[in-house]
């Protein structure tokens, strides 16, 4: 449940932040969510990773489909990814996901320290 909640919150707030703030705002979101929701560090990483992987992958896939691949085909040649739109979407999803994952890891690893303080 917590995993799902963290994933959903990270994705939703990253999307909103992305409208107004630079792309790396997703790292702040992932960090905050991981800080607020109790999870093992590994799970926190995975939740944020999944969230942005799905968000960026999903958004780019949607854009790709609505554009009927006009741009993705050209960009995938330029990158170069052999003109394969799929690789470009995958690359996009992975780049965002990695940043989010590590940011969540950072947030999550800070959390027990706060908890112990509160318990004491």
């Amino acid at each position: 449940m917590r995993f799902l909640l963290a994933t959903l919150l990270t994705a939703a707030f990253s999307f909103i932040a992305g409208i107004y703030l630079p792309w790396w705002s997703l790292a702040i979101v992932a960090f905050m969510v991981a800080l607020l929701i109790q999870q093992k560090v590994g799970w926190a990483f995975l939740a944020a990773f999944t969230a942005i992987f799905l968000l960026w992958g999903g958004l780019s896939l949607l854009i790709h489909m609505r554009n009927q691949g006009v741009l993705t085909k050209r960009m995938a040649e330029l990158f170069p990814l052999q003109g394969q739109s799929f690789y470009l979407i995958l690359l996009t999803a992975l780049i965002g996901a990695l940043v989010a994952g590590f940011a969540a890891m950072s947030g999550s690893s800070l959390r027990p320290v706060l908890n112990t303080r509160r318990v004491r």
Partner: protein, 816 residues
């Protein structure tokens, strides 16, 4: 432990963000660039996107409705001129902002600011040394002096800037994201810069052969030069029909007394530099047929300007409707108005005049500082302009350009354009540096009602010289070769001239009324195809880089055509019959020594023997012919020209053929580097053998099919940096010397046919698409139809047709 984990993951996160938020040379900041919310993905336009918008913008005076048709052509309906030009600026920016920004940087010699490349630094320096910004500044002053062009400019610029001001990081055009910079505010100066860019392209360094000729006069006598570079080709079909009387209304100046010793004599001290030359064919066609030759009885005007074909294209199609005009046609993103097109009464089009409007003067500086030069018997100070070229790396390259009474010193010891043997300094006298207001011509032309209005409009046009064709609904057809052309003495400006006093300066201008022109000639049609405009009876000396064969082809065809329809004109614009090949091939075949020909070579000859001289995509004969002719040029010219040892320019194909045909014992035939005397037959055969060995190699790769040999492409403006944005291996026929002059990179950039019926019937197409965005389905959607020779019916929308099926979006502008 947790602290360690925290530190490690935080460091990794920050490092990742740092790496992904930073540009690494040519690689954009990947985090930013890949973000679906702000990155390149935002350029991917949804196919089902609603194109309608409502915009309230400061700078507008009232409401403007823009209807986008199914080809994304905007039809602008404005209640006043100001708003129409404002919206034109806005739309140009909306669809072509990156291109506009980039081209203005290219004109001003500022490409180094955005692209890291040493070759570009040289390009930028050359633009500065040609005085491009200097010329544009002079032009802006002139345009702003006139109240109507001032208003047009200000409105247009405000419109472009209204679009720029509303850009967000997400909506920034793709190329800005790719190269990592921001668009600059638009200005009236940038409009002028674009017009100067056209002057540089169509009447610039590539059209002045003074430097090469100066090298060559070390080898060739004055008489020989006149044979190699004739003012009038034997087969010329001039624009103005022969027999049209000419007279000079001013006295033609006499050459200075010192010409033989100071001008025609060999001058080894000039030692000129590498000269940038266009790499491909240059040219254009236009013609108009009067009602007496058409099926309908109404005149038809046709135009296909040949420019470099690029993505995005140089053209943008639109209709502009205001209380003072209803103009339709091709516009240049960067300048206000309709450039080639028509209104409800008249139609107009252009081809390049090709006249030489640049002369070079040798400058003697007092010392290496270049602060003073010898002129009229004393040391005069130059005006030194320090050019600062900002480079992407952050460095600033400073270049001092000395301005003399003639113009800027383009080459001197600080800038040799890649030629280390340069020992001299040359200043450039160029008509594009003189005050002029070309924009006023388009302003008036877009509103012209008849021939008199057209004549009144074109007088404002100085450079680049153009053949301006005209047709009206009332049945007039006319053409003027228009521009401001220097009044020269016979021979003036062929070579670099002494620049130590006034004696070699231009002596004035050819009067406007003496510019070659014709109205309703008896032959019932008018044509221009970059040939010399007039036969030898024209009283003025008008050197230029003219092209003869296409004019011959158009003249031949139009003179026999009757009951012409717009469909006939489409066929003619796509015609690939080579009149030059039809003359040359039988001549070469008659002079080949068949005893030296082997079986494989016979196959090539057979192909030529049965050729119908059509340069079609799938045929092999054009490959064989062109390779043979190229070899022949080498065989005939290389020996003499190699002794020049410096930059040279070969005579045209037409001239070579005419020399050989006129005199089969011409002294140029012999290879001067061998002890024996070669005959014409020997040389033709040698050239064929050379070509055959090349062809044999090529045959294995491409079967000698013309389109594969030609390798036509339409590249993005960033060329090799973004091959994925261009189109390659285009299967199309044509070549520089046929009407459909589609070479490797240049070709018919806008084909237009306007039938002057009561309700105008017009057709047009250009090889790209309305949108400059590689993520749009309108980016290159015209190309396949263009290759196939198809046309679109141009829809002059009426205000009553707002619910027409062809409309796919409406942009409503109102004042904020």
């Amino acid at each position: 432990m947790r602290i360690v984990l925290f530190v490690i993951s935080t460091v990794i996160t920050i490092a990742l963000i740092f790496v992904l938020n930073k540009r690494w040379d040519a690689i954009p900041a990947l985090g930013k660039f890949l973000s679906p919310q702000t990155g390149f993905w935002q350029a991917a336009e949804a196919n089902d996107e609603d194109l309608s918008e409502e915009l309230a913008l400061a700078g507008l005076q009232g409401k403007v409705d823009v209807y986008l048709d199914e080809r994304l052509v905007p039809h602008v309906f404005a209640n006043n001129d100001n708003d129409a030009y404002f919206v034109q600026g806005y739309l140009h920016a909306k669809y072509r902002l990156w291109q506009m920004d980039f081209q203005s940087k290219a004109a001003a010699g500022r490409l180094s600011e955005v692209v890291n490349n040493d070759r570009l630094l040289n390009y930028d320096r050359l633009q500065r040394r040609m005085g491009m910004v200097h010329a544009a500044e002079i032009m802006v002053k002139e345009m702003e002096k006139d109240p109507s062009t001032k208003q047009v400019l200000d409105a247009y610029t405000a419109g472009v800037n209204a679009y720029i001001d509303n850009l967000t990081e997400a909506s920034l055009p793709l190329e800005f994201k790719l190269l990592g910079y921001q668009p600059e505010k638009w200005s009236n100066l940038k409009v002028a810069l674009f017009i100067k860019l056209m002057s540089a392209d169509l009447a610039g360094l590539g059209y002045a052969r003074d430097l090469e000729f100066t090298n060559q006069k070390a080898i060739f006598s004055r008489k020989e030069m006149a044979i190699l570079y004739p003012q009038v080709d034997d087969s010329l079909q001039p624009i103005i029909p022969p027999g049209t009387p000419f007279s000079a209304s001013v006295k033609i100046p006499a050459p200075p007394a010192s010409v033989d010793s100071l001008y025609y004599s060999i001058d080894s001290t000039v030692n000129p530099v590498q000269v940038p030359k266009p790499v491909d064919i240059k040219g254009s066609n236009n013609w108009a047929v009067s009602g007496s030759k058409t099926a309908s009885g109404a005149a038809i005007l046709c135009n296909d300007p040949h420019l470099r074909l690029t993505l995005p294209a140089i053209w943008f199609e639109m209709q502009m409707h205001t209380p003072t005009m209803n103009a339709y046609g091709a516009t240049f993103p960067s300048i206000p108005g309709v450039v080639i097109g028509f209104n409800e009464n008249v139609s107009f089009g252009f081809t390049n005049a090709g006249r030489d409007v640049i002369d070079y003067y040798k400058i003697r500086f007092k010392d290496e500082s270049r602060r003073e030069y010898w002129y009229n018997g004393r040391w005069q100070p130059v005006q030194m302009k320090v050019e600062e070229i900002k480079r992407l790396s952050g460095d600033v390259f400073r270049d001092s350009v000395a301005y003399t009474v003639f113009g800027p010193v383009i080459y001197d010891h600080t800038f040799n354009n890649g030629d280390s043997t340069l020992h001299t300094s040359v200043a450039m006298r160029w008509t594009a540096h003189d005050p002029s207001n070309e924009l006023l011509m388009w302003y008036k032309l877009n509103r012209a009602k008849n021939y008199d209005d057209y004549v009144n409009a074109i007088q404002h046009f100085s450079a680049p010289g153009q053949n301006m064709i005209f047709a009206s609904k009332t049945g007039d057809i006319a053409i003027w070769q228009q521009g401001r052309f220097p009044l020269r003495w016979e021979g003036q400006g062929l070579y670099v001239m002494p620049g130590e006093d006034t004696s070699y300066a231009w002596k004035g201008w050819i009067p406007q009324s003496d510019n070659p022109h014709v109205l309703n000639p008896a032959q019932g049609f008018i044509q221009s195809a970059n040939q010399r405009p007039v036969d030898s009876t024209y009283p003025y000396f008008i050197p230029g880089d003219y092209i003869t064969p296409r004019g011959v082809a158009v003249q031949q065809q139009l003179s026999v055509m009757q009951n012409i329809t717009p469909q006939d004109m489409m066929k003619l614009q796509n015609d690939v019959y080579s009149t030059l090949a039809a003359d040359v091939v039988p001549f070469l075949l008659a002079h080949i020594d068949s005893s030296y020909i082997n079986d494989v070579e016979w196959k090539y000859l057979d192909e030529l023997n049965t050729w119908n001289y059509q340069v079609t995509a799938e045929s092999k004969a054009p490959t064989i012919y062109q390779t043979w002719f190229d070899s022949l040029e080498k065989v005939i010219w290389r020996d003499e020209f190699s002794t020049v040892g410096k930059t040279v320019t070969y005579p045209s194909e037409q001239t070579l053929f005419e020399i050989l045909k006129r005199d089969s014992t011409s002294k140029f035939i012999d290879n001067v580097l061998t002890p024996q005397i070669e005959s014409l037959n020997q040389q033709v055969t040698t050239a064929f053998k050379m070509a055959a060995s090349k062809l044999a190699k090529e045959e294995a790769q491409n079967d000698l099919v013309w389109w594969k040999h030609k390798e036509s492409s339409i590249q993005h403006l960033l060329r090799d940096a973004v091959p994925a944005f261009g189109r390659f291996n285009i299967k199309a026929g044509g070549w520089g010397n046929v009407i459909n002059a589609y070479g490797k990179t240049n070709g018919p950039s806008w084909r237009m046919i306007v039938h002057m019926t009561p309700e105008i019937e017009a057709y047009g197409i250009y090889p790209a698409g309305q949108s400059g965005n590689p993520g749009s389905r309108f980016y290159d959607n015209f190309i396949d139809d263009w290759i196939a020779g198809k046309y679109y019916r141009l829809w002059v929308m009426k205000a009553s047709e707002t619910s027409d099926k062809r409309i796919i979006g409406k942009i409503s502008f109102s004042k904020a």
